[in-house]
């Protein structure tokens, strides 16, 4: 029942059932709520310091958000299937270091090739995660907690104590990290294009909708003939590949890459996804919500220094946001279920 309602909902056809319209309203309300919080935060920060809304400041926020956005998009797909990928920070580090190293050794490599290499490295890591989860039947939390260590260990092996500096990389690649079209940075454009593609995939394609079904009820999905293994593998490969692409963007933007790139990033990504309204037990949520969550977190971390708030608060705020968001979601869900039951009894 919920599967059907959600599937219909994700098709955008809010025409038939009452459950669908209600869910729609709730999801919109949630996105709206995030937007309001975001707007309020920007307004307050800008009131304290008008430069927060200057062109260069907005550009900085967009640049910073682009990487979080990319990883949150991949994470959303995995979380929708009732999984989680805690290894994204390590995957990003591995891809960032490898592509930076590749570029420093072969300055002739073009940017698209570098991006493909990053995507490939990430996809391989994702495939490993997916295989351990699906074939090994290891719970995603445990599997990716393990690969968080393993992949980071591999980065340490590859990088040793070396650091690749901006001066080692071709200027064209670094320019790409800060260049813009019509004032909009390239990096955020890439992230937005990826976001749009994944959003379309999730809502218009069978494989995408299967992700929701898998997360809503694995048993029902299996009975309905959904190839759970292939879908799960797809989700983890996608998540890994996007983390890999994020690594390339990281290298381009920051110019300095060592073994610690992306360290402890997984927390921020999980936070963005959860705050964006994606249910941690799968089956519900959207990449757009996750994108809003990513923006909110980026704006917070950029606003704190401007507001002169002790930056020690940042982590505490991230934690409080995670707990707060899932608590609010739960309470809203309970309300919805209750009103659904009432409506149902009226109709019936």
């Amino acid at each position: 029942m919920t599967v059907l309602a959600r599937e219909r909902d994700s098709e955008g056809g809010a025409t038939s059932s009452t459950g669908s319209t209600l869910l729609d309203t709730v999801l919109r309300f949630r996105a709206l709520g995030l937007l309001v919080v975001l707007a309020a935060l920007v307004a307050v920060t800008a009131a304290v310091n008008p430069r927060f809304l200057s062109g260069s400041s907005i550009r900085d926020i967009l640049l910073a958000a682009s990487i979080t956005l990319l990883l949150a998009t991949g994470m959303t797909v995995v979380v929708l299937t009732r999984g989680i990928d805690l290894s994204v920070g390590s995957v990003l580090g591995l891809s960032a270091f490898c592509t930076a190293w590749l570029l420093s050794e072969n300055p002739g490599v073009s940017i698209p090739v570098a991006m493909l290499v990053g995507l490939g490295i990430g996809a391989v890591c994702g495939l490993f995660n997916g295989s351990v989860v699906h074939f090994g039947r290891v719970p995603p939390l445990v599997a990716t907690l393990g690969t968080l260590y393993v992949f980071r260990g591999v980065v340490y092996f590859v990088a040793g104590g070396s650091r690749i500096n901006a001066s080692d990389m071709p200027a064209g690649f670094l320019d790409f990290g800060s260049a813009r079209v019509l004032g909009v940075p390239y990096l955020i454009l890439i992230s937005l294009v990826v976001l749009a593609l994944v959003a379309v995939f999730l809502s218009r394609y069978r494989a995408g909708r299967d992700m929701y079904a898998l997360g809503s009820s694995p048993e029902a999905a299996e009975l309905a003939g959904i190839p759970a293994g292939r879908r799960k593998l797809t989700a983890y490969v996608l998540c890994g590949a996007l983390a890999g692409l994020g690594g390339v963007l990281y290298a381009a933007r920051y110019g300095t890459v060592d073994a610690s790139a992306g360290y402890a990033m997984e927390l921020d990504i999980v936070a963005a996804v959860v705050v964006g309204g994606v249910a941690i037990f799968g089956g519900s949520g959207s990449v757009l919500g996750a994108a809003l969550g990513a923006f909110l977190l980026t704006v917070i971390s950029n606003a704190l220094p401007v507001l002169n708030i002790d930056q020690f608060w940042q982590r505490a705020i991230v934690g409080a946001l995670i707990v707060g968001a899932i608590a609010v979601d739960r309470l809203v869900a309970l309300r919805v279920a209750e009103s659904l039951r009432k409506k149902g009894s009226h109709v019936g």
């Binding site: 260990g153 048993e219 505490a316 899932i326």
Partner: protein, 342 residues
């Protein structure tokens, strides 16, 4: 519902599988210790044994309540952050002149309160413990930094900090081993010899049946989180005194090691299965392996990979073993067997 039913259906298989894993891990641990003593230089010295015990003490203490929580099917990823926050709090209180004898029990109470917050969200609101404790992992660590910020409080009395690293008389037995054994015994008794223990197993293996049997599952879980917090508070005190340094980043990342050790010890991440002796073996194996690798001059990169791989293998191996056994059994019987579950 169907998951629960499926799990119950496989109970018999699970039990024997994990019982074997327990014994296996204990045997592996013993074999490894013998191997390390005989072939890793400096491993077998009494001083190294002391170091080893001091090193694994916080992991072992945190693993005790973690085992109980994971057996109920939940998880607590915030334990290391709780250690950090109580350590920070300890530093702040010490700086403001509170006597140590008041601080130490207060820290345990603070830990219990932090655990109660986790327990509230998990049981009263019914939120997934994974998400809640990832959130409080960040929250508690953040608050630890807010409390103590950039400073480290280090002027704790030498008598106290030297007790934590000292040994009993002239023997190489560390002082901390005594409370460790007492607590491990207590938790083992609770889990394996008391009605509460059976309730813990029941709520982990079949929540619905447990509720029907009149077990107050929510209350039970709530108090387990409180216990976990209290023990983390105790570890915060131990950590602070052992390094005579109260810092916000104390025990950073330790939750992963604790979870790894518990799972390595044969506790099922799905709940309902596991034994405390297995967990103790898991803790000892993990710590002594790292100790031995360090003594053999293996780089810290390799240690990172070993910890991660062990975590995965500890779940993967029993799964594969179980499947192999299932295949064998099917071949042996060639009679009707229930279809394997996803």
């Amino acid at each position: 519902m169907s998951v629960e039913a499926g799990r119950q259906g496989r109970d018999g298989l699970h039990l024997s599988r994990f019982a074997t894993w327990d014994v296996a891990i204990i045997v592996v641990t013993v074999v490894f210790l013998i191997f390390a003593v005989t072939s890793v230089q400096h491993f077998g010295t009494s001083q190294n044994a002391t170091f080893l015990v001091l090193e694994l003490a916080p992991i072992l203490l945190l693993a005790l309540p973690m085992t109980l929580i994971i057996v109920t099917g939940e998880i607590d990823l915030s334990v290391a952050s709780t250690v950090g926050l109580t350590s920070s709090a300890m530093g702040v209180m010490w700086n403001s002149g509170v006597p140590l004898e008041t601080i130490m029990p207060l820290c345990v109470v603070i830990g219990a309160v932090l655990g109660a917050v986790n327990g509230f969200f998990v049981t009263a609101l019914g939120l997934p413990s994974l998400a809640v404790t990832i959130g409080t992992l960040a929250l508690y660590r953040g608050l630890a930094f807010v409390l103590l910020g950039d400073t480290a409080v280090a002027d704790f009395p030498r008598s106290h900090s030297s007790w934590t690293i000292g040994t009993i008389g002239e023997t190489p037995i560390p002082n901390v081993l005594v409370p460790m054994i007492v607590l491990a015994g207590l938790f083992a008794a609770v889990l394996h010899a008391m009605p509460v223990g059976r309730a813990i197993f029941a709520s982990g293996s079949n929540r619905v049946a447990a509720a029907f049997a009149g077990i107050p599952v929510a209350k039970l879980k709530f108090w387990l989180y409180v216990t976990s917090g209290a023990v983390a508070g105790l570890v915060g005190v131990f950590w602070t005194l052992r390094f005579s340094s109260a810092r916000a980043d104390n025990a950073h990342g330790l939750e992963l090691t604790v979870v790894a050790a518990v799972l390595l010890g044969g506790v099922s991440i799905f709940g309902g299965k596991g034994t405390l002796p297995g967990v103790l073996a898991g803790v000892v194996l993990l710590s002594s392996l790292q100790n031995a690798l360090r003594l053999a001059n293996v780089s810290s990169e390799a240690l990172t990979v070993v910890t991660g791989s062990l975590l995965i293998i500890s779940v993967l191996a029993p799964n594969i073993l179980g499947r192999v056994r299932g295949v064998l059994r099917r071949r042996l019987r060639r009679t009707h067997v229930p279809a394997p579950n996803p």
